[in-house]
């Protein structure tokens, strides 16, 4: 089966090579393994079938970090792909490499491809825009944190509605404990959920210079009272079992799906995993509001990855890249991707199409992420963040937060150290990219 596919491929390739005209091959490096990798292949195959001038060739290059490193190394060796998928924390690094990346707005203008940026969800594209509003890279898979909750456990504990504030969340966690559970809630990707999104949700900056959007000469400010008090209160609630720490990324998923913790804050893109693993009725709702900090939530920020176009390829490649980006943004393609994966659609039209198709009615709560992202027009504090060396800085934040959960440090000490260590890396980045 596989072999015949290869032979077919070889024959097809050979016939193209000898044909009167050759199709332009566009290399697309991505970091989607497993089931999502197959979906990426399908998107490329569908695009290739839809026209005859270009062939998009997707290749899996490992996890996000590996893919980005591979692209950087390839660029230095002048062997770069046309398109590379880079995760959101790599944005500042990509952006600073002005001679390496081909901004989407510019690409579309240069190739004469009609392009209307207003059809994209503002909260999604604003993360990847220049201060002038030009789109740098094409959002591909984006998600945002939501509050997942165990409906069966809520029913058993006599809780009617999911919590909407931190006070309610703590009260509900206590009710869950009273009903016999051992853990109220947990969360994963703690820097993203508890610092980056917590700050955006309450319209607080996490760094100077518009969270780094306005320049690389930026410093962190997330050691403010709001963040520190909230984290300290979370750490203190560990004693009673209200909060339980379960690891850095998605490791704590099993705490939720096994029914140990009644609530879990993490990416909306865990929809598929929870659906297949949880043996209870679950729901998702918006992140809780800290009423000590703000009266109403602002909007959440995204995580995930975008597609960057790299420079240095022949002219005709970019026409194909532009055509592919346009194809990718079509409502049908986006709606399919959104419904299959749990990532948010990047255009409003795709969200509308999903609604028309009845996806949200059949799967209640699956539009929570979009609602959170488009709650309000993004402010400089909730547009996203753009810090250099942020891959390492997230590790620093993880280490300091673990010291907090372990009781080695207070929230104040942990956040002060994280800011200090993070600032040193920011300064280094600013210097290297002057």
């Amino acid at each position: 089966m596989r072999i015949s596919k290869y032979i077919l491929g070889a024959v097809t390739a050979a016939s193209f090579a000898t044909g009167a005209y050759a199709q332009v091959e566009i290399q697309w490096w991505h970091a989607m393994g497993g089931a999502n990798g197959e979906r990426v292949d399908k998107i490329a195959a569908d695009f290739n079938a839809s026209q005859s001038d270009y062939v998009v060739v997707p290749s899996y290059k490992g996890n996000y970090t590996e893919t980005m490193t591979a692209a950087v190394a390839a660029f230095r060796a002048h062997e770069q792909p046309d398109i590379v998928q880079v995760f959101e924390v790599g944005t500042a690094t990509m952006m600073a490499a002005k001679g390496a990346v081909y901004p989407i707005t510019e690409l579309m203008a240069d190739t004469g491809t009609p392009f209307d940026q207003s059809v994209y969800l503002p909260a999604v594209v604003s993360y990847y825009q220049t201060p002038d509003g030009d789109l740098l890279s094409m959002p591909f898979n984006s998600s945002t944190p939501v509050l997942w909750y165990n409906k069966d456990a809520f029913k058993k504990a006599g809780i009617e509605n999911p919590p909407s504030t931190w006070d309610e969340l703590n009260a509900d966690a206590q009710k869950l404990l009273d009903s016999g559970m051992t853990c109220g809630y947990s969360f994963g990707w703690q820097s993203w959920v508890m610092i980056e999104n917590y700050s955006a949700w309450h319209n607080l900056p996490i760094g100077t210079r518009e969270n780094g959007f306005a320049g690389t000469d930026t410093e962190f400010t997330f050691n403010n009272d709001a963040v520190v008090n909230r984290l300290q209160s979370v750490a203190d609630s560990q004693a009673k079992g209200i909060f339980k720490y379960g690891g850095r990324r998605g490791d704590s998923l099993s705490l939720f799906t096994s029914g140990e913790c009644g609530m879990w804050m993490n990416s909306s893109a865990y929809y598929g995993s929870i659906k297949s693993q949880a043996e209870f009725d679950f729901g998702q709702t918006m992140l809780p509001l800290d009423t000590d900090v703000a009266d109403a939530p602002q909007n959440s920020i995204i995580g995930g990855a975008t597609l960057w176009v790299l420079r240095g390829q022949p002219e005709d490649h970019y026409k194909g890249v532009a055509a592919f980006m346009k194809y990718l943004s079509q409502p049908e393609v986006q709606a399919w991707w959104h419904q299959e994966t749990g990532y948010v659609p990047i255009t409003t039209a795709a969200a509308d199409l999903s609604r028309e198709q009845g996806f949200y009615e059949e799967n209640p709560g699956t539009d929570t992420a979009i609602k959170e992202l488009s709650l309000n027009p993004p402010t400089p504090n909730s547009r996203g963040l753009r810090f250099g060396n942020f891959v390492q800085i997230r590790d620093i934040i993880n280490e300091e937060m673990e010291a907090l959960w372990a009781g080695d440090k207070t929230a104040r000490e942990a956040m002060d150290t994280a800011v200090e260590r993070g600032n040193a890396l920011l300064a280094k980045f600013a210097r290297a990219n002057r």
């Binding site: 490193t69 950087v72 060396n389 390492q392 290297a432």
Partner: protein
Amino acid sequence: MLKRVHFGPSLLPFLLVAPQIAVTLVFFMWPAGQALYQSFLIQDAFGFSTEFVWFENFQILFEDQYYLASFQRTAIFSLSVAVMAMGFALVLAAMVDRIVKGVMAFQTLLIWPYAVAPVVAGALWVFMFDPTLGIFAYALNTIGYDWNHKLNGNEAMLLVVLAATWKQIAYNFLFFVAAIQSIPKSLIEAAAIDGAGPMRRFWTIIFPLITPTSFFLLVVNIVYAFFDTFGIIHAITQGGPAKATEILVYKVYNDGFIGLDLGGSAAQSVILMAIVIVITVIQFRFIERKVEY
């Protein structure tokens, strides 16, 4: 007189060593020079803006407490691996030396782990000690010990030391067996006739006579623990939890390939290069002199 010019000047010797020189230049000197040059630069990931900063990358490193901590960690790791790998190998070699039947079988089996690739060795140990799936973690759990190297830094360190040791025992064993076999039988027999038991013969005759081998192995093992354990650490802990197993060579990778801080990473490589040079000098100065009793 005799020593002078037996052969006329000829191009042949130069031609014969040329390939070796070329290999050394291309694969050793050139990259080393690149690393040295890179360590003086602060550069962005793509190589667009480059600033020559002399020793600033080194200065930053030695002011970084996490780098100094990594030094200490590497020392603990390397010494533990070297001592344990050599200790076990010596015991096994001394025992195999006394076996009468089936020596070949024992020797072959003991040498096997050397053929296992580091990453595979790492994968084996990760499976055995996985907190949720591992058979050893399960066994420890039944006797009341809650093993979790993903959260506990000391357990993580112990695990990488064990894995690295296990893989190196075979190599040490081979050398110890050869060293013990090269001791003249007459010495040992003479001691036996004088009434020395096996333990006494080992400590007073065998052990002193294999010191050159032991010293050579000590150097090799330290170099092994410094550099060749990357695959094992990458497979087992990836330097975590919270840097507990991030030894120097892993930090080079982490800062360079994950953090894309090429200057800082190159500076660390240069320091590692200096360490190797020192170790090699020690090896030549002392081992070539033949440590003897």
